[in-house]
Amino acid sequence: MVEYQLLRAHSLEEVLEILTEKKKVQILAGGTDLMVDLHQQDPKFENIDYLLDITDVAELKGIKLGPEEGEIGALTTHAELLSSPEIKEKLPFIGAAASSIGSTQIRNRATIGGNLVNAAACADSFSPLIALGAELVLRNKGGARRVLLEDFVEWPNQTVLKDNEVLEKIVFKMPQGEYHSSYQKIGRRNAVSISRLSLTLLAEVENEAIKNIQVVSGAATPAPVPFREVNKYLTAKTFAEIDPAEAGEIAADEMVGITGERWSTPYKRPALSKLVERAVKDLLEEAGYNG
């Protein structure tokens, strides 16, 4: 069994103090990843001396969506995200991703910050936040730095977060004007891994045309990335010019370009193509365009 001393922080200042003074400290939030890893004696956590419970730190909680900018505290749970009327109204794809995670019991404890820092290849919070161009505020005793979420993960389960830093919040610009979104997911975390795929589509539209669009993969690629070719294909097109099936094909080609041909490709390629097609159709429908 991994032996550790549990410490509880009650303010952000206390968190930063402890992270500066003590070595071999592992932050504990909802525990839905970490408690599992500790139980399974994951060698990654063999050497920790302290667990630092941050669940009582009020400064790390809450959702604030302004007209221009928004932020989500790292300790916000998936249950809070999916039941927030503000999220439902303004950023429904974030609520949809949150509601797809785990079970009621998991969502009640699991936090968005834990999901990002744990950085599993199939973690569901990445694609909606990357679509928003979100940045993470990483803080240590000396101050804070901002890292683009796309640049946060080095490889699965490894991020650029330093030992003395805590993820404080996620910040992003709010989409402007008329915008539509779609979150798509197939397969469950525990099902055979080839059946896991998810994606977010977020588009700003004007005069029946796409002004800006982000289509971001979830578990289709080793790290979640924007599908640049699909985004290029869709940007500045009028609704009439868009062929959803073609967008799907472009995305599927792009995925195979990133991952290479693998044993799972014959399944994933058509599945992703259909998901993108469906997301684009949803977008057109939501925008009130019926061909």
Binding site: E3, Q5, L6, T32, M35, I106, N108, R109
Partner: protein, 157 residues
């Protein structure tokens, strides 16, 4: 290693306890408080047998350290029965034959109670969502869903 002082309320009774750093809420309930109604199945958040209610929310007690819930109100399956008899949920589970081996039942009851406490008139979909983190190897779930629907009807009035 230093013990931690915590105070928790379980089924209405206050307990001042000393807990170890590694002690999960599940361990405290079963080993310190001798409330063995809460079950340990998978120990990793998958099966829901360990579900209890912490401050009105269903949680997996195998994934929570007791010191993390210092000051909280906890409800376990032992909290259901009262002087006036079995809780409507318990009666409905019996009536609808929603129990076979019974290992999943305490967790199922807690997930159902957490749901009905916040949403006394759930739809079938809402019941399914509330129970999706509770596995049952015996019943096939339909009887359990029927029981929760029945309890909602009887209890709601």
């Amino acid at each position: 290693m230093a013990k931690l002082d915590v105070e928790i309320t379980v089924n209405g009774a206050r307990h001042k306890l000393e807990v170890g750093s590694q002690e999960r809420l599940l361990d405290t309930l079963r080993e310190q408080l001798k409330m063995t109604g809460t079950k340990e199945g998978c120990s990793v958040g998958e099966c829901g047998a360990c579900t209890v209610i912490v401050d009105d929310q269903a949680v997996n007690s195998c994934l929570v350290l007791t010191a993390q819930v210092d000051g909280s109100e906890i409800i376990t399956v032992e909290g259901l029965e009262s002087k006036s008899g079995l809780h409507p949920l318990q009666k409905a589970f019996i009536e609808k034959q929603a129990i076979q081996c019974g290992f999943c039942t305490p967790g199922m009851l807690m997930s159902a109670l957490a749901l009905l406490n916040t949403n006394p008139t759930p739809t079938k979909e809402e019941i399914k969502t509330a129970l999706e983190g509770n596995l049952c190897r015996c019943t096939g779930y339909q009887q359990i869903i029927d029981a929760v629907e029945m309890a909602a009807e009887e209890w709601g009035v």
